[in-house]
């Protein structure tokens, strides 16, 4: 309760200073004001433009997220279980991992054009590396002792994969997915900023092009809301897929 009060005071105070200070303390042309942003956001909302552009960004982010996540998790499991190939490819993958993937955007424009595919591929590339590395680490982290115990029980490679490796890697895959949510949006929006006539990124750059500061902030607010919703969705999904994790959390609390 107290924490919420503090939060309310901080946010409310900031907004109040912004609203009152705009035009007196700082130049309203550059910072706009909360009331103008709400107005711009409302206009976006009621005109339906927000939903149109948000739907495009969500499509790009989700498609990239799913493709990158699937390919990343699969590659992570395969390379994690195959020691020789894994070791051989390790350094190559690390080089690509350390490259800021956004830098590939111009190249993707040349290769795939400026349509929705380019944003999906950019997003998928970013998500792939995050999910792949987490999965790979998880597969490598499966206890060799546990695998030995299972082999003594007569387990085949299929048993080990299905009954131990995959379930224990789920946690890692989700860590990768959770990390990926903001990056998936970054991929989609950066793609749109570079070249597009649709999507929240376009809305943002279009408003900026017209020096409509309130419009820029309204687009940013929309992006923030989208991020929160996507994060929430992943968390709900996680709870459904891994109920034992929540049990663990409740136990910690009940001690």
């Amino acid at each position: 309760m107290k924490i919420w009060l503090i939060r309310l005071v901080v946010v409310g105070g900031l907004l109040a200073v912004w609203e009152i200070g705009s035009g007196t303390l700082f130049d309203g042309y550059f910072v706009s004001r909360p009331s103008a942003i709400v107005e711009a956001f409302w206009e976006l909302l009621t005109s339906g433009r927000l939903f149109y552009h948000a739907a495009i960004t969500i499509t790009e982010a989700l498609a990239g997220f799913v493709c990158g996540g699937l390919v990343g998790a699969t590659t992570g499991v395969l390379l994690g279980r195959n020691e020789t190939i894994g070791k051989a490819l390790d350094p190559i993958i690390l080089v690509f991992y350390s490259l800021p993937k956004v830098a590939l955007a111009p190249l993707f424009v040349i290769w795939f054009g400026i349509d929705i595919e380019m944003k999906i591929i950019l997003t998928a590339t970013i998500v792939f590396f995050l999910v792949f590395l987490n999965t790979y680490t998880g597969v490598r982290g499966v206890s060799r002792e546990l695998i030995a115990i299972m082999k003594l029980m007569g387990a085949s490679e299929g048993h080990i994969l299905g009954k131990v490796v995959l379930p224990s890697v789920v946690t890692w895959i989700f860590t990768g997915l959770k990390l990926s949510v903001p990056y998936a949006l970054i991929g989609a929006i950066v793609g749109e900023l570079i070249a597009a006539n649709r999507g929240l990124g376009y809305l943002l750059s279009n408003a900026a092009g017209q020096f409509n500061t309130a419009g820029v902030f309204a687009a940013i607010v929309a992006i923030v809301i989208l991020t929160i919703l996507l994060n929430l969705a992943v968390r709900l999904f996680e709870r459904r897929v891994m109920p034992w994790q929540t049990e663990q959390q409740t136990r910690e609390i009940s001690i």
Binding site: M150, L152, M153, A155, K163, W244
Partner: protein, 280 residues
Amino acid sequence: MGQLAVVLGGEPKREACAGDTLIRFKGFGKSFGLGSGALVATRNIDLDVAAGEFVTIVGPSGCGKSTLLNAAAGIFAATAGEVVYRGTAVTGYNRNVGYMTQSDHLLPWRKVAANIALPLEIQGKSKNEINRRVDELIELVGLDRFGGSYISQLSGGMRKRCALARVLAYNPETLLRDEPFSAPDAQLRLSKQLEIRDLCLRLGKTVLFVTHDIDEAIALGDRCVVLSGRPGTVREIITVDLPRDRDLYRLRSDPQYIAATGHLWNLLAPAAGRPGESRP
């Protein structure tokens, strides 16, 4: 006792007569790494374990106690000598043994019953049979009411019993057990271990039991193998002259028990107290 026969399930595996040699370490040695930098874990181990026998293994840290278990399980090959199981040299994974490592390695995403079912699933048993066997095993180890709990909701002792039930589920004739160091409540631990010993004996299991605890080593073992410091060799084999049925309270005052633990304490003390003097 009728219940035990059910748990053992169907016809017994090639039953060894009690007293026959089941596991034989012949000049067994194991080193890790190559050349001059190789770490010699154990060397020249000669040890015969009879079917149905409960053998405890003690020794200073790093003397290769766990190495003996790993070799009996066939997890790695000997670098010198060999390990023979029922007359055949152990080369790959030895399916006749069940291994309980220091960490229980239960699967946190499965409930207790599903953990115990794991080896039965691997064997491809039918759902009905799995359910029936799991129920029996849960009762056998005293985890009734906890079949539907996740592992994270169990206490340490319950986890151990769950791991025991899992290993008993596929009915291996030999159990390899590697006990972690120390427990906060030594008395309770010993009485629980005696219960498990009793269960293993009733089921006719042969047990190789690695421990750091002097009381445990004597109280549980029919024989106690004392290893020297690294590289581990057999220093002495103490035959524990106690009745098969053991009771914690009677043990405390049994002169045999007191003499044996005192002797073992003396054997281990120099190596623990003055590491420089541990034998080459």
